[in-house]
């Protein structure tokens, strides 16, 4: 579990670094201690949000379409509302990862539940 969280944290950290580099057009000297600290914090928050979100999806897997629609509306709403390009890119990235997770988890979980139901029905006399 910790291995997975560690890798996830590293991925978030790298993505945020790349977004920052992209915004500063590769001007790496803008990364000072304060900014590095912020990136660490953002990566930590992203990891936390995504881990909790995965647990949550498992409980509401049957409503995955509603979750996708709800997330899209909320996140696109935030992006359209006035905020900096940095935040927009971060929110956009978070949305894509969350939608991917919803799809991945719910599709396999629903297949599993469907198999179990079908097998039970077939084997009940």
């Amino acid at each position: 579990m910790w291995e997975k969280i560690g890798i996830r944290y590293l991925v978030q950290f790298l993505v945020i670094c790349i977004i920052r580099l992209f915004l500063t057009e590769g001007y790496a000297s803008t990364i000072d201690i304060k900014i590095a600290g912020m990136i660490f914090l953002y990566a930590f928050l992203f990891t936390l949000i995504l881990e909790c979100f995965d647990e949550l999806i498992l409980d509401f897997v049957e409503y995955y379409k509603v979750i996708i629609a709800f997330l899209s509306i909320i996140f696109i709403g935030i992006m359209v509302g006035g905020c900096s390009l940095y935040i927009k890119l971060m929110i956009g990235y978070l949305l894509v990862v969350m939608l991917k997770d919803v799809w991945k988890i719910s599709s396999i979980q629903l297949s599993l539940m469907h198999f179990q139901k079908e097998y039970k029905e077939k084997n009940t006399i």
Binding site: S111, N123, I125
Partner: protein, 167 residues
């Protein structure tokens, strides 16, 4: 399946019981003699024999040992089966049994059931999986209803997905 019956009934019974010929059972017609464990039937009540065989086919059992005592265990009650170099154990919700068979033999026996191989040394009953989560290195964690966590190896992921019919 071994059938002990009168010669005049044999052809008819063999045809009628063709679907069950793979089963490990001895059927003895009333009036015939067999020494050993068998199921006796009457030609006038074939429907009850068919019902019994159908039931047995759907709810197979396997013999397990706890402290050298023998127990018949319903296959549908087994959560997962683990094979070691010499021994093979199977686990129900609350018990652990030693088996006579090797893992590959059990795997062959359980073809067409809800069991599937998830690693080199393990078979799992899909019906007991509560949920599954992706892990690193393309593996999946299988969280069982018996509060055990198993790991689906990368090598067996495709077969697993095919079995549960994931698109």
């Amino acid at each position: 399946m071994k059938l002990i019956c009168r010669d005049e009934h044999r052809l008819f019974l063999e045809e009628r019981l063709k679907a069950y010929e793979e089963m490990d059972i001895v059927l003895v017609e009333n009036g015939e003699y067999y020494e050993g464990l068998s199921y006796n039937f009457d030609m006038n009540h074939l429907d009850s024999l068919l019902k019994y065989l159908e039931n047995k086919k759907k709810h197979k059992t396997i013999v397990g040992y706890i402290d050298e005592r023998m127990y018949p265990v319903m296959i549908d009650d087994i959560v997962y089966i683990e094979g070691y170099s010499k021994d093979c154990y199977f686990y129900t919700m609350d018990q652990e049994y030693l088996s006579d068979y090797k893992l590959y033999e059990i795997e062959e026996m359980l073809q067409g059931t809800s069991f599937i191989r998830i690693s080199k040394s393990m078979l799992v009953n899909i019906c007991f999986i509560q949920y599954m989560k992706a892990e690193v290195n393309m593996k999946y964690g299988l969280y069982m209803k018996s509060n055990v966590k198993l790991t689906l190896s990368r090598k067996y992921v495709n077969d697993f997905k095919k079995k549960i019919g994931k698109r």
